[in-house]
Amino acid sequence: MSQAQNPRTIAARAIFYVVFRGRQLNRVLNHALDQAKSEDRGIVTELTYGVVRWFWLLEHQLNQLLARPLRRKDQDVLCLLCVGLYQLKFMRIPQYACVSETVDATVELGKPWARGLVNAVLRQFLSCEDQFKSNGLTDDCRFSHPRWIVDLIKQEWPESWEEILRANNCRPKMTLRLNMNKTSVSEYLDILKESQILASVDQTSPVALQLAKRISVENLPGFSNGVVSIQSSASQLAALSMELAPGQRVLDACSAPGGKLVHMLEIEPKLDEIFAIDIDQARTTEIVDNLSRVQNDVQVITADAARPDEWWDGKPFDRILVDAPCSALGVVSKHPDIKHHRKPADIDRVVEQQRYLLEGLLPLLNRNGKLLYTTCSILARENDGQIEAVLRNHPNISIDPLPPSLGHQTRFGRQRLQDDTGGDGFYYARLKNQ
């Protein structure tokens, strides 16, 4: 038998697994939501995402409130204190309810001794709240990021680092991509209106709509038959920049989970042949899953795309999309656990992978063929840096300019920075084989 748990206990436990055990936020949350009543799912999600986002700030302020630091084995109590503080600082819940519910949550956490502690810490915060306004905080606490990421972004973006860090902490909006073969922006807006779902036109992508509130996909009209998909507008611009035409042979080199692949099929149903590759078997099944919503005959292959001898039939491609593995520092608001899990060495590793992919795939390009390179990163090493190396090593390759709607011009491509409406940070560069 089980009992529905206090949403604060569930959130604290989930946060513990993400922050102190290195587990992936969306997986942990999926499991955690099974312990909540359906009406508590919203608050569990909000608390978990919120604390994972603001962890550095919350932890810093708690350390000032605690007489001595908590023991290692009580890191779950620290997570619960963060949940309490997050509610008081960021949510509109009556204060007495926050405190008493958080105090009660200690019992289900299996730490009933911490009742007094949680009560004292939260009440002390309320009694001297003014001292805890953000003045005098270091940047890593104020913007709630690990120090090395703050330093890195300051160095890369000396003028916009504050906006970037602030955008990383916003709650992302939910963005839809409409299938233009099945509906239009104005028609789908009407359908949403009938279902009483609030939406607005997106400024970035011509086929996107933004929802005012997140909803479950089952409640989205036309989701199951491919009228509409969930995809950020920055990602939508990738397939839209492929210059697809009937009869082309196309390669999607790092395809999983297949969002951009499905979009390409929607844009140009008369492609000749299309290959979708991913290195991870578990993830290629996600591609198949995504494709099940559209008519297609895509060849889905699990392989290392950069080693064509393992999978390539020798016929060159007219279009190649390389949506490269990256640091993902442009999509932190959607995946705030990146801030906890990313390590400096990971960046060297993805830079190496990106170079290897580009070098392996460029020879597969047809004469006059084009390769679109994208990342959800905002670091020059992963973006212009890679393209610069390609141009140096391959005299036959040149830059094919992209329109200003994709972002601001960099030396070789276009860069978007994340913004406070939840737009992703994204990089695009298009290469052409003469």
Binding site: M1, S2, Q35, S38
Partner: protein, 175 residues
């Protein structure tokens, strides 16, 4: 020790009836340890062997706040009951679903411990609810069987749909 896989409704194995434990050997001790670990990890306050696909009459329960009062019920039997209480129950075989069920407020039951030593004791409140819930599992009965027809149909459909989805995912992974 190991965490066991908990069967999820509508797995037909949840409707099996448990055999009494006759031989209290080391294997039974291992099963009890694994079941306790599985229950604490879930987290749950009670687990019946049927839920982890083991066809013997074994139950573990811990309704304490500190999670340090494990009770082991082997071959349990309710011998007396009294009163009524309504508690919102959930079940590890119905993840994410909770509903109110009416049960006896007080019970007296007989069981054996992990060494096979028989004992008889009373339970009330949440402990009594949990014992009744778990003993039901041993005869293939589920807490949703007590719900109104409408509620039961709704939860049945919801879990059947989720199971079909899981099966499709599995087929893709293999194919």
């Amino acid at each position: 020790m190991a965490i066991l896989n908990i069967l999820v409704y509508p797995d037909p194995k949840l409707r099996r009836v448990a055999e009494p434990v006759a031989d209290f050997n080391l294997e039974i001790r291992d099963i009890v340890n694994d079941m306790a670990e599985t229950m604490y990890a879930a987290p749950g306050i009670g687990l019946a062997s049927i839920q982890v696909g083991i066809p013997h009459s074994i139950i573990v329960i811990d309704v304490s706040d500190d999670h340090n009062d494990l009770k082991v019920l082997i071959n349990p039997q309710v011998i007396d009951s009294d009163g009524e209480q309504i508690v919102e129950e959930g079940c590890l075989s119905f993840p994410g679903y909770f509903a109110e069920v009416k049960r006896a407020e007080w019970i007296r039951f007989r069981a054996q411990d992990v060494q096979g030593e028989p004992y008889e004791t009373e339970a009330e409140g949440l402990f009594a609810v949990c014992v009744q819930h778990e003993i039901d599992h041993l005869s293939g009965k589920l807490f949703t069987d007590y719900l109104s027809r409408l509620k039961r149909q709704r939860v049945t459909k919801q879990f059947q749909k989720a199971a079909r989805q899981r099966q499709r995912d599995m087929a893709r992974r293999v194919g």
